[in-house]
């Protein structure tokens, strides 16, 4: 099948680029995870139309590729916001007020967990442990990690982000 390429141009990504990523990585054993990571790193998500390109290149069925994408929490099938904010909701952070912090963040951003703001500014995600349990509660903003986050400190982080 032709990978539905005609529809892709408008989505702002190039099918040839996806194919090139898959070709570059396909010879390593168990290539699918590295390919999906590379595609998401490039585009921020894995478009539905990329599935058949990846499947074709790796000689897998589309169902196999879709099954892997849908299994892992990290893989997204929609474009995320410009900044991804992940809030740890696991036990250690709960012991230090993460539930109240999560509520504050939801209200501050006007977003539920898993949602992206309409203007594409933020995506809010839950995460179960960032390994920052000695400095709970913890959040991650992009690749930057923050510990001992209070509602006030969160607001400061967001203000600083706006200045960047």
């Amino acid at each position: 099948m032709g990978a539905g390429q005609s529809a892709n141009g408008s989505a702002g990504w190039d099918p040839a680029e996806i194919a090139a990523i898959a070709v570059r990585l396909k010879n390593q054993p168990g290539a699918l995870m590295p390919v999906l990571h590379a595609v998401q790193e490039r585009l921020g998500y894995i478009p539905a139309d990329a599935v058949s390109i990846i499947a074709h290149t790796l000689n897998l069925s589309r169902a196999e590729v879709h099954g892997v994408i849908s299994f892992y929490h990290d893989f997204r099938t929609e474009p995320p916001g410009r900044t991804i904010i992940r809030v740890c909701r696991a036990e250690s952070c709960q012991a230090m007020g993460a539930t109240a912090l999560a509520e504050h963040i939801r209200r501050r951003l006007g977003l539920d967990f898993g949602a992206t703001s309409l203007g594409g500014e933020f995506t809010l995600g839950a995460v179960y442990c960032l390994g920052n349990c000695a400095c709970s509660p913890a959040i991650m903003v992009g690749d930057d990690i923050y510990g001992r986050v209070t509602p006030n400190r969160f607001d400061e982080i967001i203000v600083q982000l706006g200045k960047k």
């Binding site: 390593q28 054993p29 168990g30 290539a31 699918l32 995870m33 590295p34 999906l36 990571h37 790796l58 196999e64 099954g67 892997v68 299994f71 892992y72 929490h73 990290d74 893989f75 740890c88 696991a90 036990e91 250690s92 952070c93 709960q94 012991a95 230090m96 995460v127 179960y128 442990c129 960032l130 390994g131 920052n132 349990c133 000695a134 400095c135 709970s136 913890a138 991650m140 690749d143 990690i145 923050y146 510990g147 001992r148």
Partner: protein, 537 residues
């Protein structure tokens, strides 16, 4: 000569501002024309004082902490580069009692060396274990590990020597070493600290494992939530290649070994070894049936050693100092040390490496200093999200594999999460089931459906809806999950639930008599269950 300053690159230290502190020190040094070399070390694990900055002086590395950017100017004025007096001065780092009293074997170099420097690694007793292993035959290496009585530090506590022996005895054209770096348990961060603070120890441990069983390829399966560890590992792997420690002829021997870094994608279940193998193979992280065990038929169907980061990073010190020396610490069948991690509501959270057999109280009160909120400790959860909750009255329980099992708990990966008296244990029990529902791979019914029903049933109990019937249902559900689940996700999630019920029945609107069906070891007394069913019927 340049003044030498250490500022941690550890992710938790960075989460408290270590990067900006390093930047401020560099800027202040430039302003006053004082040449300063900043080394980014790992963390010593005393997170109450991170970012902890150390200045190299003739009398040792003098520590200051917790340092914020606002303190940097005053530190220069106090001549901290020469160990000058300042209110943040903690003295020579190695002599700080919190650190000095620990037994650091696995963590001897973490926070001390530059994790990106193979030369620093060599200068601090690195590579000596491998040098010795290179003179030994594979069965001698396995025998030495067996003699150390090292048990898997990921949580299962399986004797590492037996696993290695099984893989050694398996005949195959290809074998693998897989490092489980999918440290997903809340309250644990020791794997992360090793990878960020002493990555060459992990590489060396994996290489010794490869020599032992005749493996030529290794994988480190790292969780995606650890971008800092990823960068440090990538740097260390490249440096190890450049040094000839990995590649076609490791350290000048005739053995080939290479390690590839693979990144997970946010699935807790991939910390289960067979789900991890599926994930490396490019599949959904679904748990496999056992047997066959991975040591016989693992990655791509080949014999595979799967060990946790701490297990593998402990191998070099065992070979350097000898198995007897390692086995001389610890208690009973739990030999050696464990890097305990104090997390949650603790005044002095962090990493404490101590011999197995220390009490919970020594860790959470002695090192942890009680709660950060200055309220009484009400509960501690030992061993991650699948570990039991213990009440304050049980803090004298020993932290070793056998004692934990006798009290219905698990040691897990050595994480201890502290809760003060504001915790609602019914909510924590509910969360345990909810977490299991979110992270279940879905292969077996007890875990997939049981965790969803468990959440609903606990909700009903919390809402006081038909508590007696629902409690009976929850008891049966926990029994089914414990006995019928394919792996320990569904199999152990009854522990936090049943321990919550047993020790904190008030939080569920229940009495101690209501939960008598739970034995002291958290096993369900089914004889009692039959009786109460008969009464209910």
């Amino acid at each position: 000569m340049d003044a030498l300053v250490y500022v941690p690159r550890d992710a938790s230290a960075i989460s408290l501002g270590a990067d900006t502190v390093a930047g401020a020190i560099a800027a202040a040094a430039a302003r006053c024309g004082r040449p300063v070399k900043i080394v980014r070390n790992g963390s010593r694990g005393m997170y109450s004082h991170e970012p902890m900055v150390e200045a190299v002086t003739p009398s040792g590395r003098v520590a200051y902490g917790p340092v914020s950017t606002a303190d940097v100017g005053a530190l220069f004025e106090a001549d901290f580069l020469n160990g000058g007096a300042h209110r943040l001065r903690l003295g020579v780092a190695e002599n700080i009692p919190w650190l000095k009293s620990q037994t650091r074997l696995t963590f001897s170099r973490v926070g001390v060396i530059d994790p990106a420097s193979p030369d620093d690694y060599i200068a601090h007793e690195g590579h000596r274990g491998l040098d010795r292993a290179l003179t030994m035959a594979p069965d001698e290496i396995v025998a030495e590990l067996t003699k150390s009585e090292l048990r898997g530090r990921g949580g299962a506590g399986f004797p590492a020597g037996i696993k290695w022996k099984t893989a050694l005895d398996a005949r195959a054209d290809q074998k693998y070493i897989v490092c489980n770096a999918d440290e997903g348990d809340s309250g644990t961060f020791s794997d992360r600290m090793i990878m960020e603070g002493d990555p060459f120890a992990l590489i060396e441990g994996m290489t010794i494992a490869a020599l032992a069983v005749g493996a030529t390829r290794g994988y480190i399966y790292l969780r995606s939530e650890y971008p800092h560890a990823r960068r440090t590992l990538a740097t260390a792997l490249a440096a190890a290649h450049a040094k000839g420690w990995l590649g076609a002829k490791i350290s000048g021997s005739r053995n080939a070994f290479d390690i590839e870094l693979r990144i997970g994608a946010g699935a807790y279940i991939c910390g289960e070894e067979t789900a991890m193998l599926e994930s490396i193979e490019g599949k959904r992280g679904m748990v496999r049936y056992k047997p066959p065990i991975p040591a016989v038929e693992g990655l791509f169907g080949k014999p595979t050693i799967v060990n946790n980061v701490i297990t593998l990073a402990t191998v070099p010190v065992i070979f350097d100092r000898g198995a007897e020396s390692y086995a001389a610490t610890g208690t009973g069948k739990s030999r050696g040390t464990l890097p305990f991690q104090i997390a949650g509501n603790a005044k002095r959270p962090g990493l404490v490496e101590a011999p197995l057999g220390i009490t919970i109280r020594e860790i959470v009160d002695g090192y942890g200093g009680g709660t950060a909120s200055d309220r009484p400790i009400r509960a501690v959860q030992v061993g991650g999200p699948l570990g039991a909750y213990f009440p304050a009255s049980m803090l004298d329980t020993l932290l070793d594999y056998e004692s934990m099992a006798a009290h219905g708990g698990i040691l897990g990966h050595g994480g201890i999460v502290v809760f003060d008296d504001t915790v609602n244990m019914a909510q924590m029990a509910r969360y345990a089931m909810e977490f299991c529902a979110i992270e279940s791979c879905g292969k077996c019914t007890p875990c997939r459906i049981g965790s969803v029903r468990g959440t609903e049933v606990i909700d009903d109990i919390i809402a006081r809806r038909r508590s007696t019937e629902n409690l009976s249902l929850l008891r049966d559900l926990c029994d089914t999950m414990k006995l019928g689940s394919l792996c320990q996700l569904g199999g152990l999630v009854p522990l936090p639930v049943l321990s919550g019920l047993k020790y904190f029945p008030d939080d569920f609107g229940l009495t101690a008599a209501d939960v008598e069906f739970i034995g002291p070891d958290l096993a369900i007394n089914t004889a009692g269950a039959a009786k109460s069913d008969a009464i209910a019927g």
